[in-house]
């Protein structure tokens, strides 16, 4: 099951905890992977760890030119892009009344607009191939909101609506567009939380634990697989029951 041999995947934010695991999972299933991120060193380290079938494509997703160039660079490295995982995302948290236009715009630029441009950039090849998988990493916050994250929640909810619209358009072409919405996942970011904060979070999670990056990667692997060809426009929530939507 879930054999991705011969498939070529572009994963953004591959230097992060979740993105790295996604790249590893797709690669382990046989896919060739293009690892994207802003910092080359961690991408290079991951590519070296993966060995064959791994490429580094640095890109700054807050720079429109860099975003436009990324699908081309990935296609050049691999000969095409069959699977796109929009995983890269940023936060610029602030209370609504204090949020600056810049905090708002920078989050929308990277999380929503760059995802749009990357999807547009890979579609031509997928249309011609009559096969494609797009998986966008959103967040439970996009569905239920979170104080201090008006910009982030808007960007993630925006990605969901955008994904569903594109899913409609390209369904007859063998291309699926889905979202994976993580809840609280144990990464370098959550390690910075205090024990009290962690306990507070866990009380909201029926599973009483944080998720692992591997559990997000498994969901992405499924949605990237040929077996998931009849699943499109879906949001797969991976959150330990934190929000059952």
């Amino acid at each position: 099951m879930f054999d991705l041999a011969g498939k070529r995947a572009l994963v953004t934010g591959a230097s992060g905890g979740i993105g790295g695991e996604i790249a590893k999972a797709l690669h382990a299933a046989g896919a060739e992977v293009a690892l994207s991120g802003t910092r080359e060193a961690p991408l290079r380290a991951l590519a070296d760890e993966l060995g064959a079938r791994a490429h580094v494509c640095t890109a700054n997703l807050s720079d429109p030119d860099s975003v436009e160039a990324l699908p081309k660079a990935a296609a050049e490295a691999m000969g095409g892009v069959d699977i796109l995982v929009n995983n890269a995302g940023i936060t610029r948290d602030n209370l609504f009344m204090r949020m600056s236009d810049d905090e708002w715009q920078s989050v929308l630029d990277v999380n929503l607009t760059a995802s749009f441009r990357l999807m547009r950039g890979v579609l031509r090849g997928m249309m011609k191939a009559r096969w494609g998988r797009i998986v966008n990493i959103t967040s439970v916050v996009g569905a239920v909101g979170n104080p201090g994250q008006g910009n982030y929640a808007a960007s993630k909810a925006g990605v969901v609506g955008m994904s569903k619209s594109l899913a409609y358009e390209v369904a007859t072409r063998g291309i699926t567009v889905n979202c994976v919405a993580p809840g609280f996942i144990a990464t370098a970011m959550t390690e910075k939380l205090t024990d009290d904060q962690k306990t507070g979070i866990l009380t909201q999670i029926p599973a009483n634990r944080m998720g692992s990056p591997e559990e997000i990667a498994a969901a992405v692997l499924y949605l990237s697989s040929p077996e998931a060809g009849y699943v499109t426009g879906a949001v797969l929530h991976v959150n330990g029951g934190m929000a059952m939507v």
Binding site: R124, M127, E169, V170, T172, R173
Partner: protein, 77 residues
């Protein structure tokens, strides 16, 4: 028929899976040849690649029939 028209017809026949004799000068991609809006986008993409030209979006919207396509491409290439 011109060489350009032959090449355009070949793309249309292959892409839309229609009989060659249905692809007449005035045949509308959507109304007569069963294309949906996404098919027309793909046809334009295919024309761009075949003839090495750029077809801007506003021009693409005016290409409704086989004749329109041949005319545009003849002028552009």
């Amino acid at each position: 028929m011109s060489e350009i028209a032959d090449r355009v017809k070949k793309i249309v026949v292959e892409h839309l899976g229609v009989e060659e004799d249905k692809v007449t000068e005035t045949a509308s991609f959507i109304d007569d040849l069963g294309a949906d809006s996404l098919d027309t986008v793909e046809l334009v993409m295919a024309f761009e690649e075949e003839f090495g030209i750029e077809i801007p979006d506003d021009a693409a919207e005016t290409i409704q029939t086989f004749g329109d396509a041949v005319k545009f491409i003849t002028e552009a290439s």
